[in-house]
């Protein structure tokens, strides 16, 4: 019996090995490096020293880290939890009621932003928000001079860009979920005289709860890791006003050559992702019981 069970596990072994080597090993190395003063140049590059929690202590005494952590939370809350999630649900709801032609047009337009490679989407957003970009040209046509978005409102610009880019995913998830809501339940509610928003709040949303939690978890983790979009649009500037944790980690490790501190920031980012993940998993579990 035991042998059979072991044999059943055999096909999984290669993929587990690959995961260990290519995913877990770098994470473990990066976590280890965060306790050293590893660097790209200087004495520490030849012979990194174990410095204990120094990097973490420095992080919390440094002005740029708390700011980056806060900006990351704002960025995730505004562009993923609010932006992509709510907008995706809204579009999905409207699509279920609109004519097929309209629905497919809207769907295509939304998905277009999502299928673009990140670097292309980033440059498109840069061209849109730039001082002489599309947005300001349009505003100019209506006779109002727009500000330099990337300089004056960098966080707003990257939140809008990330919302635009990622809404399609949520929309697709919610379309699938809404298609599974049994018609007879909503019809029964209709007979009982429930209004539109009541049907949404008391029937539809509770029925697609698990899809909401799954979607939230996926887009949160995706948004936590957004780098290219921000790097291309603002490079974290001006004066760190749009430096989220991934950007800070990159800057510290590769721009300033401080691998130890950079990996410490990255480790905090991983922990943050785990916390979010754990919360959503619990939510999912509670629904099942």
């Amino acid at each position: 019996m035991r042998i059979r069970r072991f044999l059943r596990l055999l096909p999984v072994v290669p993929s587990v090995l690959l995961l260990l080597v290519f995913l877990l090993a770098p994470v473990a190395w990066s976590f280890y490096a965060s306790f050293t003063d590893a660097a790209l140049s200087g004495k520490a590059a030849r012979d990194p020293q174990w410095v204990g929690a120094d990097n973490y202590v420095r992080m919390f005494s440094d002005d740029s880290f708390p700011l980056a952590a806060w900006l990351t939370v704002v960025f995730v809350a505004a562009s993923a939890v609010l932006g992509q999630n709510v907008l995706g649900l809204l579009i999905a709801l409207l699509m279920t009621r609109s004519r097929r032609a309209v629905a497919s047009w809207v769907g295509t337009a939304v998905v277009a932003a999502w299928v673009l490679p990140e670097i292309v989407a980033a440059f498109a957003a840069y061209a849109y928000f730039n001082r002489d970009g599309t947005l300001n040209q349009v505003l100019g046509a209506f006779g109002s001079a727009g500000p330099d978005w990337l300089y004056s409102f960098p966080l707003v610009a990257i939140v809008l860009a990330n919302t635009w880019r990622g809404t399609a995913f949520s929309m697709l998830v919610y379309r699938a979920a809404l298609a599974d809501v049994p018609r007879d339940v909503t019809e029964a509610a209709l007979m009982d005289g429930a209004r539109g928003w009541q049907r949404l709040a008391f029937i539809t949303l509770p029925l697609i709860r698990s899809s909401i939690a799954t979607n939230l978890m996926l887009i949160t983790l995706q948004t936590l890791a957004v780098f290219t979009l921000i790097w291309v649009m603002t490079a974290g500037g001006p004066a760190n006003a749009s430096t989220t944790l991934p950007v800070l980690a990159y800057q510290e490790a590769f721009k300033f050559g401080d691998i130890g501190y950079g990996t410490a920031v990255a480790s905090v980012l991983i922990l943050l992702g785990m916390v979010f993940g754990a919360v959503y998993v619990r939510l999912l579990r509670e629904q099942k019981s």
């Binding site: 660097a39 030849r46 500037g237 001006p238 004066a239 590769f254 300033f256």
Partner: protein, 455 residues
């Protein structure tokens, strides 16, 4: 009916394929052909910097012709200075990817020697006759803390004020222009602004976007023109709390607040210099800026932003000291070198390639194409070099008032802290005093209490 693909057949096929693969990969290695060696050469190439690529292509031809069986593998990295340094450092972390010969910024030499990336060249230089042709000051560029030489300079540079005569004349400023103090710069800039509000009168780089350009073509011209400095060479300590540092930031603040420079948003763009050379100067939209002696290389024939007649329109002036105190002017020098990788498997061959790339012919071509100040005395005396552009003499004379960055191992991080201070000031995030205080705190954190000096 037999199966088209029986399991046995599939297995047999798989086994035979595996056998073939195994045979192909497990061949005993053929003995290396004598002298079949390859050298990996890493350097920087951008759409506006191809002069070094040309030199390397020529050196490859020469070297392969005189060393049969040796392949020179040129690997240009297409990146700006900052990213080039990062990619190079990453490549040097492993013996498999480390280059044999590479292009190295002088200010990183000491730090990279500490990291064990550079090979000590003293033993090789002794046997190289051309080494005597290098000027004494230039030889110092590759010297590390242990007194050894680890890199050979390609050329050097100075920094000056480059100004558009037409823009200045419109504002009633007589040319040739030579401001004697910071105030004279501001007076001239305000006059230009008044004459034409659309003109950018006097630009100085600031912020992290332009990286090392911010300090070399901007902040240090200010700081080294005060009575303070960045680093006390005698005490080997970093200077903090100096009046000169705050004054320099205040000057930048005035420049940006009065809109005499580019907008802060433009200053933070890493590509702003392309606009300076490619658009604003040729179109007469910029009065003056602080830039390197290599400036003509962008405008001359074959340059990235060819501009016929720039020689007549542009002028060059020495950057003045704060109040006109001695020596009256200030300039900064840097420059790049070629070095041999410490992990090179063929150090003799690698050094031999380096000498080919830096021989008189190649050095002359490079200095002319890239508007470098020559470091070989046999090049400086060449009429062709002196006639390369009308500004060669002016910028070469600045060597008298020039300063070098403290090439210590922690310099690159200090430089970043200075850039951060300028960014905070021009964006209005901090006052000059607060930005200077934050810089002091950062320096203390970076180098430790025992390496700072209150002045």
């Amino acid at each position: 009916m037999p199966l088209k693909y029986s399991p046995v057949k599939i297995a047999a096929t798989l086994v035979s394929v595996a056998a073939v693969l195994a045979a192909a990969t497990s061949c005993s290695p053929t003995p290396e052909a004598a002298e079949s060696k390859s050298l990996k050469i890493v350097y920087q190439k951008t759409d506006s910097f191809t002069a070094l690529d040309t030199v390397m292509q020529d050196a490859k031809k020469e070297f392969e012709a005189s060393n049969t069986g040796v392949t020179v593998d040129l690997q240009p990295i297409q990146a700006n200075d900052d990213d080039y340094g990062t990619k190079l450092a990453l490549a040097q972390r492993s013996g498999d990817t480390a280059p044999d010969v590479f292009y190295e910024d002088t200010f990183k030499v000491r730090s990279d020697v500490d990291a064990g990336y550079l090979l000590k060249l003293d033993g090789y230089l002794e046997k190289w006759d051309d080494w005597a042709a290098f000027s004494e000051a230039a030889k110092e560029a590759g010297r590390a803390d242990d007194g050894g030489i680890y890199a050979v300079p390609l050329g050097t540079d100075t920094r000056a004020i480059w100004y558009n005569k037409t823009v200045l004349q419109k504002a009633g400023i007589p040319v040739p222009w030579q401001p004697k103090s910071w105030d004279e710069i501001l007076t001239a800039a305000r006059a230009m602004k008044a004459a034409d509000p659309d003109v950018i009168p006097f630009n100085m780089y600031a912020g992290k976007g332009t990286g090392e350009g911010t300090v070399m073509q901007g902040f240090y011209e200010l700081l080294y023109g005060t009575d303070s400095s960045l680093y006390d060479v005698d005490a080997k300590k970093w200077v903090v709390g100096s009046q000169g540092f705050t004054d320099s930031l205040t000057f930048l603040k005035t420049l940006y607040d009065e809109k005499l420079a580019v907008s802060p948003a433009e200053a933070l763009d890493a590509n702003v210099w392309k606009k300076v050379f490619g658009e604003w100067f040729p179109q007469g939209k910029l009065g003056a800026t602080v830039e390197g002696s290599y400036t003509p290389s962008f405008w001359q024939k074959g340059g990235a932003y060819e501009w016929a007649g720039y020689e007549q329109v542009m002028g060059v002036a020495m950057f003045p000291t704060q109040k006109g105190q001695d020596p009256g002017g200030v300039s900064m020098s840097g420059g790049w070198t070629l070095a041999v990788g410490a992990k090179s498997k063929n150090p003799e061959l690698a050094f031999s390639f380096l000498t080919t790339a830096l021989n008189k012919k190649n050095a002359l071509a490079y200095d002319i194409n890239n508007s470098q100040i020559a470091v070989r005395t046999d090049v400086t005396s060449e009429p062709e070099y002196l006639a390369a552009n009308p500004f060669v003499k002016d910028v070469s004379d600045l060597v008298k008032v020039t300063h070098y960055r403290p090439a210590t191992a922690d310099y690159p991080r200090i430089s970043t802290a200075v850039q951060v201070a300028t960014e905070s000031v021009i964006t209005g995030k901090q006052s000059p005093e607060d930005a200077a205080a934050e810089y002091d705190a950062t320096v203390r954190k970076l180098v430790g209490e025992d390496k700072v000096l209150e002045k």
